[in-house]
Symmetry: C2
């Protein structure tokens, strides 16, 4: 390795350590921290993140990058090193463009915004949150202007979460999606929903946990390099490729909540555990984008965890764990129940079919906000209108409407579409891997998930952040982003559950 | 507050955040971290500690200290601020005296030493550890020489853990202690030991935990600002005054192990939770010394937790929790059993009477090592000789002898005496507080611990690191360090359990 590259890595490694340390502190904050620790913890995390930022944007790192780039151009670097330099240079340029005053103003507004949002949601009082959201939108506009963009402000905001993905691609893809999905949801809503009474019962948390952990161990999640804990909102976090942690929460009265969140987070965790060890302690040791990340979680949650073959293998076990609720329930009924579709108000409770509509709505509204085509004061009405037209339901309150999600309260604009992008990608990836693994259903039906994980490791996981999502997707599936495969998946799967759906779309 | 002082505090606060973050990472390492995380975690902690050190020893901090000192001299600072400047200046001078090359060499030798020690202990192979210990002793000598000292090298090593306490005081105090304690232990060893069969049985960990946590909540430990988790070796750590964590471990076959470790760590935790909030995020927000810290843990473990009045209140509850083991056992028998004295080989398993002899031995040997009066190769023989003369037992192996403790393996020389100093101080403090709380036994017998905690908060806890141990002890008890009160306590308490002991000492 040329000195210039090892010098760069030596400079980046402690910055990665600071970020990992901040991640440990955040994980603890959400899992074990006593409430008295909150104030000091917020300061500690802020200090670590500030130091990581300060160490990164120095002239010295800039000079190291220049020298490393020269080595890359001279052909003195490996392919991984070339990717490291490219990805780091992009992050460096971006970080240097943001004035410290804006970073600080944003961070303070985000902190105030979250506090105000919590109160506003609790009191169903959008007006209390509105001035904070206005400030955050204003600062987001300033951020986009400082970073610069070719076509529209949203491009550079989305780029933070989904590098290399232009807004226009999202717009086009979502247009295709909306056109077909809205009628599908309408058709489903017109039909009788499967009975899911057996999912409401008594499901002790310990038993849920043991069952879920057995399943994800079967998936290949390595508990020697990770663990699962409880938190109010499930998440996955990594402190290094060999320490990737999941969290979940259990509703003892409703089985799917904890079970599918465990499978979902395991998809994220398998991704992080599968990154090539040589990328450790560099900026490449994370997922390519939030969309790719979500494709892995959705794949394990839905394509695997809500599939017939999966339950062919596991339903007997589950019945043994919860005989009171499930002993007399046929597997086919259970399968239909966990795939029940119902347009509803709350994104995080939505089924896999309606979920994307919740996302499209948020994307359209936040894009309009930063384009200054929509005023914050008009947001609740716009929200409710779109809920009615996309999902056929109207929020009974802003708390169950525009105030339901935390993201905007800390200025995360550009984040929402990645949920839907990931869902679409999951179907594209599922199609591609089934070409290589034609008997995957049979494997799943006998509890075999090794070939699946092997495929994902080879095609997706190992690359970490080396490739941007569009490139990685193309390399893994041969196709660019496309809503078609997911619509086919939905059509095919749900036609078997909602027979009248067959008329909706020709496969 | 003068600007010079607020500038100093602003410079120190992020350094404290780094140290707190390192403490969170260490806590996680010992409690929840999966084994795969070990390698990355070691680097992360090293990065945080290195950054904290680097930020502290800058010329800028030196200049801020100079300006703050000027403000103190001009009378422009509060008493707390004056203490902050004095304590920080001392730490700064110390840190600046150590060359970076020595710090780095020490840190690497410590890391290798711990690994070698683990292997050596597992294989009972002192020779494998000896070269590492030689290197660590040599580096410790270099450290002492770099830091400088008036009388002997050990002074400046002890000062790291017990600021303001000269070696000569320890030597004199331990001489007093040894003279009286060795005959006491001999006299006890000649008498029949109380039957402790009821302590060996089946004690489910959950029940032990619930009982212990109820007791320490009664003591005043605040679970909103702390928690108790499991680790291989119990410890207490603080991430801020409002987040102070304890760990323990339970032996389901032997009750005292987990119970008394919970009470012991709670003593440490109560101290950290009682530090004045105004000291938060400064170098004053920790205990005055390891000795003072240990005085608090020993007081709650022994003076409270192994006392008759304490068990008058709790024994009925304990019998209800563990009826199988304790239902027919009279409280008086239980009390004698938990106070059984038995000379033994292993420090961490020693009873409160023999414990100090284990410490004195270590102090004498490590002092001789850094004085270069004892060679590492002669250490095992010296260890075994002293064990025989102080405790009347001889190790059957180096693993159960000179290799039993981790401290020397990472170069912690100067640490051991603080355990015994704390034990002696606990009796001095117990005497002093009983003068103000003459009915303390009656309070404990009715489960009242508020007045006790209030006294400790006022006299000890609130000061944090503002006063050095000798000064704090004098202020709280009116007396300098003295082995007499502890010897009186032992004589009085154990005469009731071992009747022949009465002849040993006139109270």
């Amino acid at each position: 390795m040329p000195t210039s590259l090892s010098d760069l890595k030596d400079a980046l490694a402690p910055i990665e350590d600071l970020k990992s340390a901040a991640a440990v502190l955040s994980w603890d904050q959400e899992t074990y921290m006593p409430e008295g620790g909150a104030e000091a913890r917020a300061r500690q995390i802020a200090t670590l993140k500030t130091m990581a930022h300060e160490r990164f944007v120095t002239d010295e790192v800039g000079a190291l990058l220049d020298r490393a780039e020269t080595a890359v151009e001279a052909g003195d670097a490996s392919a991984v090193e070339a990717d490291l330099v490219r990805v780091t240079q992009r992050a460096y340029d971006r970080a240097r463009k943001l004035p410290a005053s804006l970073v600080s103003a944003f961070s303070q507004a985000a902190s105030r915004g979250q506090t105000a949002w919590k109160q506003a949601r609790a009191n169903d009082d959008f007006d209390h949150f509105a001035p904070h959201l206005k400030e955050l939108v204003d600062l987001t506009v300033q951020k986009a202007e400082a970073l610069g963009y070719d076509t529209e402000r949203y491009d550079v905001l989305l780029d933070e979460y989904e590098p290399g993905m232009p807004t226009s691609t999202v717009v086009d893809t979502f247009a295709d999606l909306r056109e077909e999905l809205v009628p599908i949801v309408e058709a489903i809503a017109d039909q009788p929903a499967p009975n899911d009474a057996m999912l409401h019962g008594t499901f002790p948390a310990d038993a849920q946990r043991a069952f879920g952990e057995q399943v994800i161990a079967d998936f290949g999640y390595d508990f020697d390099c990770g663990r699962q804990d409880l938190s109010a909102h499930p998440f996955t976090t990594s402190f290094g490729i060999r320490d990737v942690r999941l969290t979940t929460r259990f509703d003892e009265a409703f089985l799917p909540s904890g079970l599918f969140s465990t499978l979902h987070e395991a998809g994220h965790g398998l991704y992080e555990q599968g990154i090539a060890p040589e990328l450790a302690r560099t900026p490449l040791a994370e997922g390519a984008s939030l969309g790719i990340h979500e494709s892995q979680s959705r794949l394990y949650e839905n394509m695997v965890g809500r599939s017939r073959p999966f339950w062919q293998h596991y339903y007997g076990d589950l019945q043994e764990v919860f005989p009171e609720a499930l002993a007399g329930v046929p597997g086919a009924d259970f399968y239909r129940a966990i795939n029940r579709v119902e347009p509803s108000l709350i994104r995080v409770e939505a089924d896999e079919v309606t979920y994307n509509l919740h996302i499209m709505l948020r994307f359209e509204l936040e894009r309009a906000l930063v384009q200054e085509d929509l005023a914050v004061d008009d947001l609740p009405a716009a929200w409710n209108d779109r809920m009615a037209s996309y999902l056929g339901v109207t929020p009974n309150s802003d708390a169950n409407g525009v105030l339901q999600d935390v993201h905007w309260s800390f200025g995360a604009i550009g984040y929402f579409p990645t949920y839907a992008l990931g869902t679409l990608m999951s179907a594209q990836i599922d199609d591609a891997l089934r070409q290589d693994l034609p008997d995957l259903d049979a494997q799943m039906a006998s509890g075999q998930f090794d070939a699946l994980l092997q495929w994902l490791r080879e095609r997706i996981h190992q690359y970490g952040r080396r490739l941007d999502a569009p490139e990685l997707l193309k390399q893994a599936t041969g196709q660019p982003l496309d809503a078609g495969p997911w619509l086919n998946y939905v059509q095919k799967k749900y036609s078997a559950i909602y027979p009248d759906l067959q008329a909706q779309r020709v496969l």
